[in-house]
Assembly symmetry: C2
Homo-oligomer: 254 residues x 2
């Protein structure tokens, strides 16, 4: 561990040293039994140095969330106006996964610690809530013209966070083995499929414009018999939601 | 306020008196500036009586959530095996709304208080989390046979809670005016529509069995040109999700 004066000129190593010392003690003695004084003594720095980096003992358990929240906010603010919004919030959620996957050992240790300490669970809920609000705020902006814009934004943000966390926890329970990225992609794919359909959510307003009309025809023939048929002829490349939209509007029309 | 000895023989009134005293002081002085001693002095009871009903000062702000959580758990446990699961969790969420709507004035006061006090926001997040877990556990049981059962359960539970809370907050912001039930029904309807489609979630297992196969044919012709077509011929009465399912499986097959 570096001395307090040396570390003062090299902030990131001191911060890392505090996190390392804290986790060593949390694992040896337990979280509740470890004080900030114990942590700074092991790291070889003063109490004020600790509080320069971390407002509280809880914060040292989640040292990267503030940076990740800032990254996510910047990522969403930097979105092109024609980015598909549900895909964009899924990509934003992947930033959180990347933070966990960068250091599997640390992430797994923290997961086990957090499960055991109610205070850390509460802290984690507040962090998750901030991620969810960041996603929801972005979506509220994108859905500003929709009648149910805030409702859809809140629901989709919550669904993205839940899918991400389901996949993340499954990876953490496997001790960080396996492909975290693929697990999260699969989970987020479920959310995208749920909210990329007409009726569920409007088709996104910025899909690439196709010069040709993708659906050639939908016809519903009515003869009063249950054998009435719907005939849909569509270009193969047409998005599924367009096919559904055409069928729905045709059936609703007569 | 009743005297301590009279109240001891009539527990619910004493509990109500403590809640009323607490809110009177929270509104007059602020939450942080009110102590448990202040509350019991105004209610005319001893400290131990307070802690018999409420583990902490936070708990007196949310006096009915434990009962409501118990009601929700019992409601879900009492579900018939053939109940449509997404509808069931939506109905379970309506129990929470009912608790708020029973006493609009109190609910609006608490909403304003909670927005101002970070400690109460944290407490509320932990309560919301417990509702969400109750819904998710029920859905996990119902989806036990599905490949993505836990994922779908977690995502749908989160979506239901987000929709409910979006509607609830909108009602609370309107000072408890308007039809809370209709607002929540509309919000939950959005979630039901999102997760009642194939791909998003399996069609519910209890749809009426149709003896005849409703989709006559789906064919995708591939010639390498973007003008490849999909032809769907369907009985008019076929449910939309079956049409989509057939198109999806046909397109995914070749």
């Amino acid at each position: 561990m570096s001395s307090s004066s040396a570390a003062a000129t090299a902030k990131p190593p001191m911060r890392d040293a505090l996190v390392a010392a804290a986790f060593q003690l949390f694992l040896e003695r337990g979280y509740e039994q470890t004080t900030v004084d114990d942590i700074v003594a092991l790291a070889g720095v003063g109490r004020r140095s600790f509080f320069r980096y971390f407002p509280s003992k809880e914060d040292v358990v989640f040292p990267d969330h503030e940076r990740c929240l800032a990254d996510m906010t910047a990522f969403l603010a930097g979105s092109e106006a024609d980015t598909e919004p549900v895909r964009r919030v899924c990509d934003a959620a992947r930033l959180v996964l990347r933070m966990y996957a960068e250091n599997p050992t640390f992430s797994v240790q923290r997961y086990r610690l957090t499960k055991k300490v109610p205070g850390l669970r509460a802290y984690e809920l507040s962090v998750v809530w901030r991620y969810e609000r960041a996603l929801a705020e972005y979506l509220r902006g994108r859905f500003a013209g929709r009648p149910d814009g805030t409702l859809q934004a809140d629901v989709i943000a919550a669904a993205v966070v839940a899918a991400h966390n389901n996949a993340l926890r499954s990876w953490l329970r496997s001790d960080g083995q396996g492909d975290a990225g693929a697990t999260v992609d699969h989970a987020l794919g479920y959310v995208q499929s749920a909210f990329s359909r007409p009726g569920a959510a409007e088709p996104t307003e910025n899909l690439p414009v196709r010069p040709e009309r993708p659906i050639t025809s939908v016809q519903a023939e009515r003869s009063g018999s249950p054998e009435d048929v719907v005939v849909l002829v569509s270009r193969r490349g047409a998005p599924l939601w367009r096919m559904v939209q055409e069928i729905e509007s045709t059936l609703g029309r007569d």
